[in-house]
Amino acid sequence: MNQKKTEAEFNDELRRKFQQDMATKNNGMVMTKPPSTNSKSLEALIEDTQNAQLVNQDGNNYIETIAVNLVDDSPWQPRSRYDEGYIQALGEMLQDRGQDDPIIVRKLPTGRFELIAGHRRVRAARLIGWSTIKAQIVVLNDRDAELATLVSNEGRVDLTDYEKGLAYRKSVDRGFAKNQTEVARLFGCTQARVSQCLSLLSLPLEVKDILDKYPGLFGYRYGVVVSDLMKEFPLGIDTITQGIEQLIDNNELNSDDLRSFVERALLNRSRSPIVKPTIVSNLQGDSMFTVKIKNNQIVIDIKDENIDKNVVNSLMIDALRNLVLSNQ
């Protein structure tokens, strides 16, 4: 009890102390109050929404069996290639277990259906010769259809980083999201992921050409190495693309392999003309030392046998110490 009182006193004192400060600080800052009426119960919420849904059954959403040959791809879907092995496996699964979830389509004025979600399932169905497929038919305008297609592909399956990057950029270009934060919210991933996938789109055109053909060739980590290499070897794009193309035949290779391939090719070539030794001569013109930079080493050749190596060595050490000190 006693303790409580002192705490209250303490707070009171502080309150007085801060009253003035607070008065100025809260100026213009609107602090919303939480609602104060009584919330309805969970049960009431569920009952009310179920009733509302019954009223809402306006035929806008229904499931039907439709002809596979009436189904068209979405013009907006971000997947650029289909893994044949996967489609085959999916086909076998459909054959074994039947179709669990309907594909999602919208009906076009032509009477055909345009896919929103289920591009791979439709391909699998064609492969195993199904003539019909279970579909949920929704009514959507172009804009919503585009958004739904973008989002559903992302939500359902493993798009490659590059394809994700393309979808993310599209969502910004088309005005569905204003910035990376909004993209992340739209696609339900982190902003870091968005930024990683988008970074692939800033690679040089030559590299993106490869990714357009082989979107799964590499992910963002490898992309980081590619752009690092571009910075280190601004003129090395041909060599870099050559290095990347090796991935197509050998997916065991990783970004370290790319780096060493590029370095091997470019460092060797560029070194030979540059590495000329500096010659240090005496007044008579006899060369006393040659000094040469070799990777991380400086090689000093002592040409005159009379020179005391120990003296040179301690001179060098002194010079280096001075250098270190002056940098501190």
């Binding site: 919303t32 939480p34 919330s39």
Partner: protein
């Protein structure tokens, strides 16, 4: 990983009682407790599982019956304010008070799941190779239980729920990175004109009623969500389903904005659906010696008098120590029962249970 056993005094601290009554109740319960080996006194060595079992026994013995069941979400739209810390400690303390507790990790970053010793990145193969129990892997998360997930079938609840400290400790629905897909599926639903906002509410309603025998949550007294800082549909869904939202605010930083945002979200829920959770604001990183902190408290208390929880959690290095120590898989409240932080956490748990009218 071997967990350090607990001595009687620590157990007494955790259960808020005396050493004598712990001894008595242990004997009465017939729970098998290890004894120290060697020549010295044969002290009882409780495992963490033993403690939770004893807590349940004591609750039964005194005929403890919760007055009501509650669903709560630990959420503030600000990162790093202690949501996960609060969630893991509360969900550990509630069972010690005799409440059957389920905690649901809604953050695909899975910090909560990791704080209970699960590894979101561990594959079955790796576990086998490294001789780690398969149970440490996370195969399913909350998203798998949602109708939107559209997998061929919903996994049985038993395969989803983890029991880090045994049957009588907290139960956990863990998370891993693919949970973020749920958000995209909710977005898709929205575009398709379906209303995903009540999905989680419906799941919990049916679960607590036991309508669906495969997804029966009716045995739980308390269900908590650990929400991510994101302002997304998953979080809103959990809020809508909840009776309370416990919002940790960091007293070290100005948090009035985040509380204000949350209050606004609740207001929107009230006007659109008439259902919203009651706001409870919990001070974290409290330091009463610092004036800035005191100023914050005063602002919040003035503005949100009815929501302010009058027990706070001080800033304490212990929280970080637990994370980096061998006891990683134990929340601080049980890892260091006699630390100041644990005493405060227990007081917060008590205050909340009282405030919510559970006991």
């Amino acid at each position: 990983m071997e967990r350090k056993p607990f001595k009687v005094q620590a157990v007494a601290n955790l259960l808020g009682t005396t050493v004598d009554s712990i001894r008595r109740d242990t004997d009465e319960s017939g729970i098998l407790i290890q004894r120290q080996t060697g020549d010295g006194p044969k002290t009882r060595l409780f495992s963490i599982e033993n403690i939770f079992e004893l807590a349940r026994f004591r609750a039964k013995k005194i005929g403890l019956t919760p007055k009501r069941k509650v669903i709560m979400t630990i959420y503030a739209p600000k990162g790093g304010v202690g949501k996960t810390t609060v969630a893991s400690n509360l969900s550990t303390l509630f069972p010690l008070m005799g409440l059957k507790t389920l905690v649901i990790d809604l953050d695909f970053q899975a910090n909560l799941s990791m704080s209970f010793g699960y590894d979101a990145e561990l594959t079955h193969e790796q576990a086998l190779d490294d001789n780690i129990p398969i149970d440490k892997c996370i195969d399913y998360h909350f998203g798998h239980l949602m109708p939107q997930w559209q997998a061929s079938s919903t996994p049985p609840l038993n395969d989803v729920i983890k029991k880090p400290f045994g049957e009588f400790g907290p139960h956990l629905i863990p998370s891993e990175v693919s949970l973020d897909r749920l958000e995209a599926l909710f977005t898709l639903d929205t575009i398709m004109g379906k209303n995903p906002e009540t999905t989680i509410a419906k799941f919990l309603y049916e679960g607590m009623n036991g309508t669906n025998p495969d997804l029966d949550l009716s045995s739980y007294d308390v269900i908590l969500f650990d929400a991510p800082p994101a302002k997304n549909q998953t979080t809103r869904g959990a809020l809508l389903a909840s009776d309370y939202v416990v919002a940790p605010v960091s007293m070290e930083r100005y948090s009035t904005k985040s509380v204000s945002y949350l209050a606004k979200v609740l207001g929107e829920m009230e006007s659109s659906l008439g259902k919203y959770p009651e706001l409870l604001i919990l001070g974290n990183f409290y330091d009463k010696t610092r004036l800035r902190v005191a100023a914050q408290v005063i602002t919040l208390v003035n503005q949100y008098k009815d929501s302010w929880v009058d027990k706070s959690i001080s800033s304490s290095e212990e929280f970080k120590k637990v994370l980096s120590s061998e006891d990683y898989e134990l929340p601080l409240a049980v890892a260091k029962p006699s630390s100041n932080a644990s005493v405060e956490l227990r007081a917060v748990a008590q205050a909340l249970v009282g405030r919510m009218g559970v006991l």
